[in-house]
Symmetry: C2
Subunit: 496 residues, 2 copies
């Protein structure tokens, strides 16, 4: 035995991957269908690219990844070319557009939904395969394209059942951020210091004002004693940067301010820089459209603290957040936070063609959004199941199940080989709403029995044999064979 | 320039992979939804396993693969364990069942649909990523489980719009085949010769009787001069094997015979072998159920030439074929052939646990079936698209598109920056059914224009400027602004 046993593979999921069962799959399908209907109604068309891309075509745009090839699953094809599994849906889109540019309508507006893979260290709730739902407009430099994505995101979240006030889509502009840097005398080409400033702003949610000040200045030592290098800004420069972001942070009364006061404030301080003026003009064009279409600042908010990690953004950046509290894994009450993000990336197609193609997009994290909806009770029910027991003649129970299906009901015939009490336990485990039984006596008398499992499950625990079970009539009704469908419908309706 | 250019990656699809566009995606989604509804109605529940499995857990069950690791995409994880992308949905199911056996209802009936990957040499119409739709029943040795899959397959094909006579589900039994081998004195444990015999029978569709005789005997030299080793059977043994398969081949008048005459014929010749008797009993139990449920031999046919390549089948094997002619890539008219296959595999879970768990399943090749349905005109239409041109004020065209969407129509606002004639060309390229335009004059007068693109596309070719275009009134109507939705509906209805 031992020798044979050691040669057997162990049945185990690969590290960082997971199986998903009926309830979650049905809920995710409903979620994806809802978003798809909204995106389709806006005239976006689906595209599907393969799981694999050539590694050089994918590029290296993962956030928080320093070493080459880290973060992606790669392997060598038998012609010695490196293949990688896609880590997002944007890089494959850029490849697709560059490859098919001549034949595409411009602007090209597509949505894509599917799994992406990240070769990262898995952790609790952190998987190496997850689903993204992206919408992108390629070939339009117009802020109208950005505005459309913002409105479409709001519509999708509301179509999923979220109410006004339960979500907010936040908008910032990389150009405006560069204007801020410009105004303090920092060149946007000083990538190292620019990066430190952006990361400092990105940490506004986690650090207090003093912590961010330290990161903008001489650096910060955290509680563990680790030191993070600062941007080496002077006090007055730090003040200016914090003034910019203070619209949404540190000064809570400013958070609900309308777009107009945001613009007034920023125009005065950063409007005279080239980048700042360009960023403001784009944001104004966006909010102008939003206003006419009746999307207000309570739904789509200007928020200077939105950074989004990816290097490739060149203009407006977006983040959709859910604002209601949930309990996290540590048992703390926290705001749910980000479920989607994106922005304008005008240089991604140029990687291939050398020619700039303006593009903008937003990506929904499907699994995270699903978790949020489930916590809100916004995911639908599975259709009730009827299990027809197999009592002697399998063909007979099939015929009964078939009759129920023909009436539009969801019905299975038990296909195992176990005894009736075990079949009842099976139906219970399957979560069946009703059980249908046609014993020999019943068949002879033209009768059939339907059992409500909620009560039946309790009874079946104490039941050992068919004889006892027949006596246990809790929640069960015997009717004329011809009235099967009618009675099943009635009992399902009674259950609600 | 040259230096920069050479450092750019080339935008290209990986070898053997493909992008899929809107029409195919919509058609495949409709196909999958239809099958899913049928499978759900039978009480099957969805399961999703990850793209990756540990290589040892997947096992090596690919047909026509001799070298280890050939046929799968594999890579080493950073903990030195080998991962492979799934090459079908059955091996991951076996892993899942072995891992979760205690908690599953038995029988466990699940369906799974998703991509699988094969690291094979790509060819015309032969891709390295494709979609399978599987249904399996694990934990039931009853022929009722096999019968259910056969009926469900018929129902799925008919739900997709195929008519009786356009498809046939063929059934054979590995046990019956072993009975045939037993009857000619060949041990089922003589794997090498057994394999040669099975492969020879599998070639009945492609070779004539003489070719198969040669493969069963001393071997066969094909037209290219390549020699295939034979099973070294004697003449009378060959005769016996061919008599078995002749039910469906070589004797066309036997092809439409009912199950009863099949059984009578086989019983006489092979019923006295242990394996043959067991196989016949199972097939009889299956057809008994089919008969009561009114699935006849025209839909589900016993066919002894069905082999199915995979080594792991242990009992009944199935193959669904489409019977109508299509034109293949070489321009020849051929019968469409196989779109699904499966069978009983009682040993697959035992690979992990050492304990036999009876199982049976069927897998639909989604892409192949989709091709067949498209050749039959059985794939649905995409909802008509309305493009609202952007004439000066993007916000205004958004508001119009929004109004149309609120009325349940599919409407996009043009988000590019091009002139009106180019916008019309864009709408044409998008295949838009109607175009909506609200120029400044029209807005001032409370009017709006709707254009039927079928005619508009022709006109737009000769149109260079807005002035000329306004004059070109082919297929276009100007109505009161308040009548937009009403008029759009009317024009869509007129197009049919």
């Amino acid at each position: 035995m031992s020798q044979q046993k050691t040669s057997r593979p162990k049945a185990r999921l690969p590290r960082g991957f997971r199986d998903r069962s009926a309830g979650e799959i049905a809920a995710e399908r409903a979620l994806i269908d809802t978003i798809r209907k909204v995106y389709e109604s806006y005239g976006f068309s689906p595209l599907e690219t393969p799981a694999f891309e050539y590694t050089d075509a994918l590029g290296k745009f993962l956030p928080d990844v320093d070493r080459p090839n880290e973060g992606v699953f790669s392997l060598k094809d038998d012609d010695e070319q490196w293949l990688s599994l896609r880590y997002d849906l944007t890089a494959p889109l850029a490849r697709y557009v560059a490859e098919n540019f001549q034949n595409l309508p411009k602007p090209f507006r597509r949505y894509q939904v599917g799994p992406v893979w990240r070769n990262e260290k898995p952790g609790p709730g952190r998987f190496r395969e997850f689903t993204q739902f992206d919408a992108d407009t390629v070939g339009s430099a117009s802020p109208a394209a950005d505005a459309e994505l913002l409105m479409m995101t709001c519509d999708a979240l509301e179509a999923l059942g979220l109410k006004r006030g339960e979500y907010v889509v936040k908008v910032n502009s990389r150009k405006l951020l560069d204007g801020v840097l410009e105004s303090v005398g920092l060149s946007p080409d000083d990538f190292a210091r620019r990066g430190i400033v952006l990361r400092a702003i990105d940490k506004l949610d986690r650090l207090d004002r003093k912590g961010v000040e330290a990161l903008l200045g001489n650096g910060r030592k955290d509680e563990s004693g680790d030191f993070t290098k600062g941007a080496e800004l002077q006090l007055d420069q730090i003040e200016r940067v914090l003034k910019f972001v203070s619209v949404s942070h540190f000064e809570p009364d400013m958070r609900t301010s309308d777009w107009g006061s945001n613009f007034k404030f920023w125009e005065r301080d950063f409007g005279n820089t080239a980048n700042g003026a360009a960023g403001l003009a784009e944001l104004k064009a966006i909010t102008g459209i939003l206003k006419v279409c009746e999307y207000d600042a309570a739904r789509i908010r200007l928020d200077p603290s939105i950074i989004r990690g990816l290097d490739y953004y060149t203009g407006p950046v977006f983040e959709a957040q859910l604002t209601f509290p949930v309990t996290n894994e540590a048992g703390e009450t926290v705001v749910f936070g980000s479920v989607a993000g994106g922005g304008r990336y005008d240089d991604l197609v140029a990687r291939f063609t050398g020619q700039q193609v303006p593009a903008t997009g937003i990506s929904i994290g499907v699994s995270r959004l699903l978790t949020a909806l489930q916590s809100r009770g916004l995911t639908g029910d599975v259709e009730p199941l009827i299990v027809v027991l197999s009592m002697g003649d399998a063909a007979q129970s099939f015929a009964i199940a078939r009759e129920l299906r023909a009436a539009g009901l969801r019905a299975e015939s038990y296909v195992g080989t176990k005894k009736i009490p075990d079949q009842l336990k099976y139906a219970d485990k399957r979560g069946a709403a009703l059980v249908v039984m046609e014993g020999e006596d019943e068949r002879a008398n033209g009768k059939i029995t339907i059992k409500d499992l909620k009560r039946g499950a309790e009874v079946s625990k104490s039941v050992e044999s068919r004889a006892e079970w027949v006596g246990a009539r809790a929640g069960q009704e015997t009717v004329d064979r011809g009235k099967l469908v009618e009675k099943v419908r009635e009992m399902l309706a009674r259950k609600g």
